[in-house]
């Protein structure tokens, strides 16, 4: 099998040594050569000193999920060398710094070793200790470019872009690249069997992270009040919003058209969002599982008192602190039913940064239309890694849907305003914004039971009317949230697969692999909770449905079982919960296992 434009490179670095920008330079150069690729950061919960990896999958066929097995490992971290040697596939390459000789125990017969004196060369060529460290990284990128045939012009162009305004820095970087290239030219046979060739396969795609896209989506969606509390992997959502807004949302007099508060904790962050939304601003928070746990009481209030909330949950590996820098889709249950009493919340499942942008922007419309919390269920893999995706788009003619809000003029025509009256029979009442009218439209929002006119009551009938209206609103939500994506015009199999979010890339790849061996499986990508009728239909029209997700307990399967009137025995879990992004190999083998069991 050809390894041109089809391989995985893994970089093993020490956290905090400036390897990130060199590794990114490598990944981006492949993207610039028109070849699909997907980089993934595998990092510890640590600021300096622990091992960190960066894995780049290059795929001519456009498969962007993680792939098992490493073809070329670049090792500059003595701490993790043993496991780095072990990860290389037979026949693969291990590129290391041979300034110090390799320990005998690290020698494998079935792989190739490429020793380059990175440290010795950089110590000789640079005097500043920080530069010696940094240029070691750039030097191995140079070496790789020679080994994998990355165009030098592309690297130069990227460096020029990176150091625009700091041109002085370009020459020493180019020099470091050349040190690597020259060493390869003098010492090794090149290129390697795994290498790149220029293609035109990325079109007008962009390369960005889900968190950055969510932050931008919130700017476009009109968010003005942002409250958040730092937590990996969600922090960069608020940071991205702040950065974009600092550029895009400044008044003529230099004041900001937004307010961002780093709250004292997640309870306060969600409280601020609720206060701002109640008062007529579009507002959001971003957090991860531990934050969602803390926000439970307030989410119940927002559900029951009917206050719009937008929450970006960038999921990580739980429970508790779990593996805070690893990915998972394991907040589904807590998010869906957050808080005590009968509560249900709308969730959206983006699978690409483009969708993070769209869904975050859309969620403000949805939250105001439905007057309820909307949770965007991203995860660490989507949020923090760069992904190749279609460019962001905005419809020039789209208008924010501010939902049902009575103006002063509306109130003048109404005899008695009832905050919780179901005027339109869709379960969604009309709200008023504080200060709207001198004598009409005021009411007290509360988490305790009230009648249609927002008057406190402990009357059972009034309580039940309200709860039933909220159920009706839930039905309306089904018609407004993002519909699932079908992958086939017509069902072609008795088996189906359901997946969502970052499981998508690997799931599609797995279904292709199975198809190539004659096993056809229909597919449906979930994009929102509550599930609409298409989902129920899909389950009903197949004998077995694989539910592919990244958690231990099959949380999406539980939601499907609870919410749809379908036979649970049909729903077969395909799971990955090791904290690493799910792979096509895992999915394929689990599906085959299920099929063998049932046939």
């Amino acid at each position: 099998m050809s390894m041109i434009n089809d391989f995985v490179v893994r970089f093993a670095n020490v956290n905090g040594t400036g390897s990130a920008s060199a590794n990114y330079l490598f990944a981006k150069s492949i993207f610039r050569m028109g070849i699909p690729m997907s980089p993934k950061n595998i990092f510890p919960s640590n600021i300096q000193g622990l091992p960190t990896w960066y894995e780049v999958r290059v795929s001519e066929r456009g498969y962007l999920g993680r792939r098992e097995g490493v073809d070329v490992c670049v090792s500059v971290n003595p701490q993790s060398m043993k496991q780095d040697v072990a990860c290389v596939k037979p026949g693969g390459y291990f590129l290391y710094d041979n300034t110090k000789p390799l320990a005998a125990e690290l020698i494998r017969e079935d792989i190739n070793y490429l020793g380059i004196p990175l440290m010795a060369t950089c110590n000789r060529e640079y005097t500043d200790p920080r530069q010696r460290q940094l240029f070691k990284n750039v030097m191995y990128v140079g070496a790789l470019s020679a080994l994998l045939q990355i165009e030098f012009g592309v690297l130069e162009e990227l460096l020029a872009e990176q150091f625009a305004g700091k041109e002085k820095l370009i020459a020493p970087n180019v020099k470091a690249l050349k040190l690597g290239i020259d060493y390869v030219h003098e010492h090794f046979t090149y290129p390697l069997p795994m290498r790149v060739e220029r293609r035109d396969l990325v079109g007008n795609s962009i390369l960005t992270t889900g968190n950055s896209a969510s932050g931008l989506g919130a700017v476009y969606g009109g968010a003005t009040v942002v409250a958040w509390y730092p937590i990996t992997p969600s922090t960069s959502v608020a940071e991205a919003f702040h950065e974009y807004a600092d550029e895009l949302r400044i008044d003529a007099d230099g004041r900001t058209n937004f307010a961002i508060v780093q709250a004292e904790d997640e309870l306060a962050a969600i409280g601020m969002v609720i206060g701002a939304s109640w008062n007529g601003s579009r507002s959001f928070t971003a957090t991860s599982g531990p934050g969602v746990s803390l926000m439970n009481e307030f989410l119940g209030l927002a559900y029951f008192a009917e206050v719009p909330v937008v929450l970006v949950d960038v999921q990580r590996t739980g429970p508790s602190t779990g593996m805070p820098t690893r990915t998972q889709q394991s907040d589904l249950t807590i998010a869906a039913y957050a808080s005590h009493g009968d509560t249900k919340h709308v969730m959206l499942f983006p699978s690409t940064p483009t969708e993070c942008f769209d869904m975050t922007a859309d969620s403000f419309d949805l939250a105001e239309r439905l007057q309820t919390p909307i949770m965007i269920m991203s995860d660490l893999d989507l949020g923090m890694n760069d992904h190749m995706c279609t460019p962001f788009q905005w419809d020039e003619h789209s208008e924010y849907d501010r939902g049902k809000v009575y103006s002063a003029e509306d109130l003048d025509t109404i005899k008695r305003y009832g905050r919780y009256q179901d005027v339109d029979h869709d379960g969604i009442p009309y709200r008023t914004i504080p200060g709207v009218h001198a004598t009409k439209g005021s009411y007290v929002v509360r988490g305790s039971s009230r009648d249609e006119f927002a008057v406190y009551t402990e009357d059972s009938a009034a309580y039940m009317r309200n709860m039933d209206r909220l159920s009706k609103k839930w039905e309306t939500a089904k018609t407004l949230v993002h519909a699932p994506q079908r992958y086939q015009e017509k069902d072609a199999s008795t088996s189906g697969a359901l997946f969502f979010g970052t499981t998508t890339d690997s799931a599609q790849e797995a279904l292709d692999i199975l198809k190539a061996s004659g096993i056809v499986i229909d597919a449906l990508r979930l994009r929102a909770f509550p599930f609409n009728n298409t989902v129920a239909e899909f389950v009903r029209s197949h004998d077995r449905v694989f539910v592919i997700e990244q958690n231990r307990d099959g949380q999406m399967r539980s939601l499907l079982t609870t919410e749809l009137n379908v036979d649970p025995a049909k729903l077969l879990s395909v799971l990955n919960y090791d904290g690493m992004p799910i792979t096509a190999e895992t999915i394929t083998s689990q599906i085959l296992h299920h099929l063998n069991q049932t046939s």
């Binding site: 007008n204 795609s205 962009i206 390369l207 960005t208 931008l216 700017v219 476009y220 969606g221 009109g222 003005t224 009040v225 409250a227 895009l248 007099d253 004041r255 900001t256 058209n257 937004f258 307010a259 508060v261 709250a263 004292e264 309870l267 306060a268 409280g271 601020m272 609720i274 206060g275 701002a276 939304s277 109640w278 008062n279 007529g280 601003s281 579009r282 507002s283 009481e297 307030f298 209030l301 460019p391 962001f392 905005w394 020039e396 924010y400 008023t432 914004i433 504080p434 200060g435 009218h437 001198a438 005021s442 009411y443 007290v444 929002v445 509360r446 988490g447 305790s448 008057v455 009551t457």
Partner: protein, 350 residues
């Protein structure tokens, strides 16, 4: 249950400059125990807003959970209100204030709501100098859950059941001072002569205005031996000064003894006269305020009146440099950067 107050208007009730009677500032009928201090504070709020000619709908009232936090339903019926969750009113007030800087934010809370479950949010609202009035209706106990000691119950204070509180109490005024509150006052629900002008001054203040009001719980903490009972507070009150609130543009007619008076002009142009100032106390000097509080505590007195006032006027919006217009009034054209900008952003990501 809450009862709607009959909308009967007495023909001879006085009106204010807006043509409103106090009726326009009332809420629904209180369901608190007869004699509860909290009801007197609601009445003082009604009177203060009436006398200040405040348009009720320009006030947003917020609270947490507790008997005290129920009161927003009982005053300013034409104002929007938010009865949030236990101890979390400050965050909701913060978000609301950021969304619209043009309303007056009036938060009421209890000593349980503020000094225990809500301590975290309270201290952060203070240190952000959020532009709001924060009234604690302080009865030294959890009224709504039937009288347990709260964190403001004084050490040695006796409960109705006879047990003596063994823990040190939290002095909310001292804490607010420490954290940079720019207006700190303390009063007693039974002293409307003092409470009403103090609330007015707090509402005229720009920045965080904190008013701790001792407000006896007649049902659970009004017994002999309690330091939050009506009798005890009456006997131990000691005022920093007598407070007189002078509305904007009103001619100042009263004259006070030289040397013991002070006049403070508030951000909205109103004046606050203080007379018979306590020895050694200067309302604009934080050190003397801290000293006065500590001194009163040592003497087992309840210090009331204005305790500290700073004319700085710097509040959260100034720190954030946020738009002078309410953020909730900005339209899509001002918020959405548009298609061309997005294309530029896309370009930068290729």
């Amino acid at each position: 249950m809450s009862f709607l107050r009959p909308k009967f208007r007495h023909p001879h009730l006085p009106t204010n400059e807006l043509g409103y009677t106090t009726t326009e500032y009332e809420g629904s009928l209180s369901t608190l125990c007869a004699g509860c201090g909290h009801d007197s504070i609601s009445a003082a709020i009604v009177q203060a807003c009436f006398e200040m000619n405040i348009e009720p709908h320009k006030v947003a009232k917020l609270s947490g959970i507790g008997c005290s936090s129920k009161t927003p339903a009982y005053f300013l019926g034409n104002s929007h209100g938010f009865n949030t969750v236990h101890g979390r009113m400050p965050s909701v007030a913060t978000g609301a204030n950021l969304a619209n800087r043009d309303l007056i934010y009036l938060g009421v809370s209890g000593d349980g709501d503020t000094a225990s479950i809500g301590m975290g949010q309270f201290v952060h609202a203070v240190r952000r100098n959020l532009n709001m009035v924060y009234i604690v209706m302080n009865n030294g106990c959890y009224g709504l859950t039937k009288g347990q000691d709260s964190a403001t119950a004084d050490r040695g204070s006796k409960s109705k059941a006879g047990s003596v509180n063994p823990f040190e109490s939290i002095d909310l005024c001292g804490l607010a001072l420490e954290l940079g509150a720019s207006f700190v006052g303390q009063s007693f629900s039974g002293d409307k002569e003092q409470l009403i002008p103090l609330i007015k001054a707090a509402m005229s203040h720009k920045g965080f205005a904190f008013v701790n009001v001792i407000s006896p719980c007649v049902t659970f903490n009004n017994n002999v031996g309690s330091t939050k009972s009506y009798d005890y507070v009456r006997q131990h009150m000691e005022a920093t000064a007598t407070v007189d609130f002078v509305p904007m543009m009103t001619e100042i007619t009263a004259s006070y003894e030289q040397g013991s008076d002070a006049t403070i002009s508030m951000h909205d142009g109103t004046l606050l006269h203080l007379h018979k100032l306590a020895d050694g106390w200067d309302p604009s000097d934080k050190l003397s305020a801290i000293h006065a509080l500590q001194h009163a505590r040592n003497e087992a007195k309840v210090l009331t009146g204005l305790i500290y006032y700073s004319a700085d006027g710097h509040e959260l919006h100034d720190v954030l440099n946020s738009s002078e217009r309410p953020l909730n009034s900005l339209r899509q054209e001002e918020l959405c950067p548009g298609v061309a900008k997005l294309e530029e952003i896309n370009k930068g990501l290729r």
